[in-house]
Structures are given as C-alpha cells and as structure tokens.
Symmetry: C2
C-alpha cells in the first residue's frame, strides 16, 4: 500500500525531526529548519506540540516570521499560551489578525488578561473588534465557532450576477461552501450549495434554485446542538443568525469536526473523572491538581464502602473467606454497571436515547443485568463454593451476584438519564454515583446474606 | 433563544409523534402519517429507530413507496436489518439503487447472505456491480466510505470549459465540493475547491489555479487514517486512488464525520468492555451475550485479586480492620489508573501522543501518581488511623497508597502505549490489564505491609 507507506514515512520523518530538534544541546541544522518551514501549518503545530518546552520555544524563535498564522490556531491551549509568550508582540498581533474570527478569538482566549489586552490593542482595529465580539459570546456557543465572512446574495439576482459578483468583489471569504440568500432585514431565506450554483446556467434566478427553509444556527445555540445539526443533515456550512434572525456569520464543517472530536474527548474524560480542560501538555503538578477532586470524591465513597464492610466485621472475623471473596461481587457489579453507563452516555450524546425510548432501554438493561447476573452467579458460586468447600458460601455469593448485577443495570441506565433530565452532563459524576451504589450494594448483599445464613 | 426553542419544539413534536405511533393498539392517524412523510430523511430514520419493534414495522409498511432511500442508509445496523425484511423486495432494490455507492454497500452489509444475494440481483445492474466492488474492500477501509461519482477534469482546460462541462454533462455527482484534476493514466495531479473555481474568470487555465500535490487517499487506507487527514488538513473531500495511483472515487466530509463519531464511540465502548458492534437497539439476550466475555475476564481477574487477599487470610483474621480498609487502596489505584489510561488512549487516538513524546508523558504520569499518592496517603492515613485509633494502620495504608498510585500512573500510561506498539487497539483490553494490576498490587501492598509491621 503505497499511501500507508507514504504516510508512515512522512510520520517517521516527522518523528525523527522532532527527536533531532528535541536535543537541547545542539543547534538545529539548516536542513531541519528547512523541513520545519516546509511543513503544512497543521503538521508544524503537531511538531511544536510534541517538543519539550525549551526546544519548542527555540523552534518557534528560529521560525520567526515564517511561523504560519494557521499553526498558531492549531496549537493546544496550553502550548499556545506558552508559545505566544515567546513571540514578538507585533508579530503575534499580525498573525492573529490574519486568522478567521473564530480562530483569532481562540488565540485571545488562551492568553492571560494582560497579554490579551495588549494583543487586542496591537491587532488591526476591525479584526480586533470582531474578535472582541466573538469573545463576548458564551463559551461553547455557535458564536465562538462562527466566522464573520460569508457570501450573501439577494434572491432576485441571476446566477450570472452571482458569478460576476464573486469574481470581482474583494469582499468574499477565503473559503465557503454555499451561498446564503437573504431577504428583507438580512434574514436568510435560502441557501445554494456551490456545486448547484456551478451547474446552473447564468440566466437562472437564485430564487428558482435555492434550498428554502435552510437549516439556520442561532448564535447562542450550544455548539453540541450545532454539531448535531451538521451531522444529522450532512451540512458543510450553515448561516448563523442573531436574536432578530439577521444573518451575522457562518459555521463551517471543519470547525464542527473539531467540536465533535472535543465533545467525544470530554465525555470520555468525564467518565474517567478527568477535567475537560485537561490535555497531555499540562504540567505534572497542575495535572495532579486537576485530577485530585475526582479522586477525593472516590476516597469518600471508598470509605462509605468500608463502612458497609465494618457493619459485618464480626462475621468476617468468624469466616475469613468472606473477606477474601467480597471484592468479587462489588467488582463485577461495578464493571457491569460501567458497561451500561457507557452505552447510555454515548447514546444520549448521539441522541439515540431519548425520552421516547428511555423506559424500554431501562427495562432492557435490567434484563441484561439479570441474564448476566444468573450466568455469573453460577460461575462464581461454583468457583467460590469449590475453593472454600462450602455450598452455603457458593449460594450466598451467587445470590448476591444476581442482586448486584440487576442493580448495576438499573443504575447504569438510570443515573445518566436522570442527570440528563436535570440538565447536568450525563457523563459528569455518573461513574462515581454508579460505583458507589454497586460497591455498597455488593458488600451489603454479600456480607448481609452471609451473616443471615452462615452463622 | 428562538432557535433552541424551535429545535426543542421540533424535538418535542417528534417525541409526541413517536409516542402516538408507539401505541400498538390504535392505527396511526392521517395527520401522523403526514408528519412522518414530511420529515427529513435523517429525522424519519430517528423516529423509526426509536419506535418499538411492532409499531416500527407498521410505520415502515404504511410509508411504503414514500420511504426515502436516504432514511434507509441513516438507520442503525440492527434496525435496518429488521426494517429491510419488512419492505417489498422490489421496493428495497429500487431504494438501494438510488443510494450513493457507499450507502448502498452499507445497506447490503447489514443484510444476511440470502437477502443480500437477492437484493443484488434485483438492483440495477451497474449499481449492483459498484456496490459489490465496495463490499470487496476491507471493512473500515477508505474503499467502504468512498463514492464512485466525482468530477475529473484535465489540467489544460479553462475554467470556462469546466463550467460548460458541469452545466451540460449529465454525468456529474449530486454533490461535490472540489474538482479533481487528472493527468496521464487518470492520476490525480491537483484539486480545485469549488469556491476558487467560482471566483475565477472563464479564460484562466485549470493548471494555473489548482492546488498541486493534493492530499490523496489510498483505497485500502484505514478509515481512521482518512479521518485524521480530513481533520488535520480541514478537507471537505479527497480523491481516492487505487494501487496504481489512478483516481477511482471520492470521500466526502459527511462520511468522515460519521467515521469520527463511530471511532469515538468504539474507543469509549472498548474502555468499558462493550463490543463495538453494540448498539442500543440490540435485544437484551444478544446484549447480555456481547458483554459476557468482558465480564468473564473480569471475573477471572477478580478471583486473582481474591487469591492475593487469601495469602494474608490469617493476618486478616487477627486484624479485621484490614478487611474493612483493604478495598480503599485498590479502588483509589484503579480510579487513578483509569484517569491516566483514558487520557493516554484518547491522546493516541487524536495522535497527540506519539513515540516522540511517549517517554515524557510516561514520566509525567508517574510523577502525577506520586503527587496524588502522597496527598491521598496523608488523607487516607489520617482517616484510617483515627477510625481504628491506630498509628501503624494509618502508616501502612498511607505507604500502600503511594505505592499503588505510582504503579497506577505507570501502568495507566504504559499499557496503552505497549498495545499501540503491538498494533492492538490501545483501548482494547487496557482497562482490564490495568485494574488487575492496581487490584493485586493494592491488596498485596496493603496486606503485605500490614503483615510485616502489625503482627
């Protein structure tokens, strides 16, 4: 496969370049700098990110004026913050001014207060004003990912007029995928995908070929909703309107792809109790602090589980086999619950799980818990019974297993549904609630049944 | 916010429609059927998916000829399989024939052997042949998501010739975002985004405005690699070539968005031990079976952890506080390790974690484990020491905590890196290896230290 080979080679060359540049002791060779300069802006950003701190700043310094503006916008938050501090303020202002509004806002957002103010002052006035406006929209809103350039045309034009306008007007964005048709008070009334415009003869009127009732994005809409609309209706761009339904910008699919990646990352991170602001370039101490809170909550719930065990301390003293076996029930419940939880969280995110089918999914998950509960009751009961040569121990652990796995299925589905209904991110905190339940129920069911039947 | 309201209302209307249609007792009203017919194909697919089995088939039956082909392609695998069996074979063949090649292949892929053969026979011959070819490409390869229609032009044409060709040729795909420029033996030598073509005067030559060295996708490339290229270089479409570097198709960004969503789902599911072929529409027994293997592995590792405890049974008999406290160290190690593991798996997927920075990330994660290990050693030591009024117990649990959290950081980063190097999906099985390590080390460190120091 020549392409995979080609990609592998490009990737390998990049890795070799990084390892040469990462050597803080030697100055980069002219050939390495040349390779750096010849890289695509997105690849250059990856190289800069993967360098250790010092060589990273040196590389940025050596690139100087040759650093493409688009590389800046492709950097992770923390790396961008560090890199920006090492770039000459005038150059930084010029680069940021070259970016599309949403990318310029991203750069500004990553800087601290003072540096942001200074950058805004040094940027071209009109770009600074647009970026300032973008920053006023809520984080995670469509306003933050829209660009302010778009092509708006009246519906009474002919395609010929549109083409002449595009060819001769300097006021057209660098990239666009559709023409937005506006009516009175700049309200979007239709869209024309470029491929349709290109196939249409010059004398045809815009009104005759435009898609009416276009999918329009409100500037305050949550970016997750925007991503859903793009995914659902296979859009490449969409007009953005303000509260008065006036066209004020455009969201394009490349920004939406980033949103989809970030939202998927956030859900995964939240399920594991890692803050969403986290990235692999964060320093160790800061990383430890980011993860501390989640672990603290877990410590609290671990003590809760211990308290459940402590209730049965005297039983354990008499039958030490219980201490040996008790983590099994809790662990299986936790794992089965996390399976259900993950499926439910993802299905809520992709909008496959809605109030319309929630009851059915809940019922199904309880049934799944029951099926696997019975299966693992048999296996675990046999294993434990044989190990300690005790039928009662086998029966007790089996019964506790069925009970805990049904509970796991129930709570694994119920917790994210209830969080979603309470308008809390369903991934957020769901895992800790769930594992607390499965731990406490697991220990209680097993040790409680043992106390009732074995002594 | 009018738009969110509008969306909410549309969503609510959909939910109400679903609950009315879900009522198996009453026939759907004419108004409900009208609403169903007026739905966007993607929304209609969502409605069909969220209905219970019987009303789902009834709805499809009532829609009959009005079922849009695109709705079929938007259905989840299992729902599509069920729905297809309820559609008249002739209609199914007509609908599938209307789809783009990649979507037609998806429909065929979801059917069983006999039904697939029959559908291929009833489809229009040329479409059937293309779909058959698509199915011959490996699952998860670019060949499966490409469409066979594209616009190819020679570099010596003028833009005027291109426009005339597009306007008059019947042989142009429904949707396209770029013109592919081909040289000798149909090799892609450049691309022109439509917005650039539209802004260019008729007399300019293609060769003068095309982007040279376009990003080309090999037909056998992994679709994850294709998604990376689209994301990295912000593409909306890319030419697909065969082993001889001849243009044979086109991948578009809407298919890539689906790939990104699916790959993110798969990683989440794998981390939680849920098979990737899983969806929420799978029946309970099948779901239970899908999740059984993962739970079986977990049962095995849980018994391993129990075996570690059993080594110290006599110690536990003497100091029952150990049985009460021992899950804490294991649980904290498991949680800290899952934080690291999730970050590492995601960073590998988004290609932020590469061999170039692996050693640094590993070192950082060990350091993070040490920082939080010390912090939680103090907290847990104090808590446990006070609870059981014993300084030695506090010291033992603290020391075990530090040790286990460093191990968690080390293995949380190392396991996915090693799986990646062994060309195994890093999400696959990583969690089970990790939690086995943190459980066994957690119990061994705590109980072993206790035995050495307390008795």
């Amino acid at each position: 496969m020549p392409e995979s080979q080609a990609t592998a080679t490009a990737q390998e060359q990049r890795l070799e370049l990084i390892s040469r540049l990462a050597d803080a002791g030697t100055e980069p060779s002219a050939a390495d700098l040349g390779q750096l300069r010849a890289s695509h802006p997105a690849d250059l950003a990856d190289i800069i990110e993967q360098l250790p701190s010092e060589p990273r700043l040196r590389a940025v310094h050596l690139l100087g004026e040759d650093l493409p503006a688009d590389s800046l916008a492709s950097l992770s938050r923390r790396v961008l913050d560090q890199v920006a501090s090492a770039i000459d303020p005038g150059l930084l202002a010029r680069l940021t001014g070259e970016l599309e509004t949403d990318d310029a806002a991203y750069v500004l957002e990553c800087l601290d207060e003072t540096r942001r103010a200074r950058l805004l002052k040094e940027m071209p006035a009109s770009e600074a004003e647009l970026a300032r406006q973008a920053l006023e929209f809520q984080a995670d809103s469509a306003g933050r990912i829209m660009q302010r350039d778009y092509v708006a045309i009246p519906s009474y034009w002919t395609i010929g007029q549109v083409i002449d306008h595009l060819r001769d007007s300097p006021d057209v964005p660098d990239e666009f995928y559709a023409l937005f048709v506006v009516g009175a008070r700049h309200t979007p009334v239709g869209t024309i995908p470029l491929h349709r415009a290109m196939r249409t003869h010059r004398d045809v009127r815009v009104a005759d070929i435009m898609t009416r009732d276009p999918k329009v994005v409100q500037v305050n809409a949550d970016r997750e909703d925007v991503a859903f609309v793009f995914d659902q209706y296979e859009l490449t761009s969409a007009p953005v309107v303000d509260a008065q339904n006036r066209l004020i910008g455009m969201v394009t699919v490349d920004d939406v792809v980033d949103v989809i990646q970030e939202e998927a990352s956030e859900d995964m991170m939240r399920l594991a109790g890692v803050g969403p602001e986290h990235d692999i370039y964060t320093a160790a101490v800061q990383t430890a602090r980011n993860r501390f809170n989640w672990l603290l909550i877990n410590l609290f719930t671990a003590f809760l589980a211990s308290a459940a065990i402590a209730v049965f301390a005297s039983t354990i003293e008499q039958v030490v086999a219980l201490a040996v076996l008790m983590p099994i029930v809790a662990s299986m419940g936790g794992n089965a619950g996390m399976q259900t939880l993950t499926v439910a969280v993802r299905a809520i995110a992709t909008r496959e799980l809605t109030p319309a089918n929630a009851a059915r999914v809940l019922g199904k998950e309880v049934l799944v818990g029951l099926c696997n509960g019975v299966a693992f009751a048999v296996l675990t009961g046999l294993g434990a019974g044989l190990w300690f040569s005790s039928v009662p121990i086998g029966l007790v652990i089996g019964a506790a297993m069925i009970f805990n796995m049904v509970v796991a299925g129930l709570f694994g589905a119920l917790v994210p549904m209830m969080l979603e209904r309470a308008r809390v991110d369903p991934a957020h905190g769901a895992a800790v609630i769930l594992t607390t339940v499965t731990d406490v129920v697991g220990f209680f069911a097993f040790l409680g049944l043992a106390q009732l039947t074995l002594l």
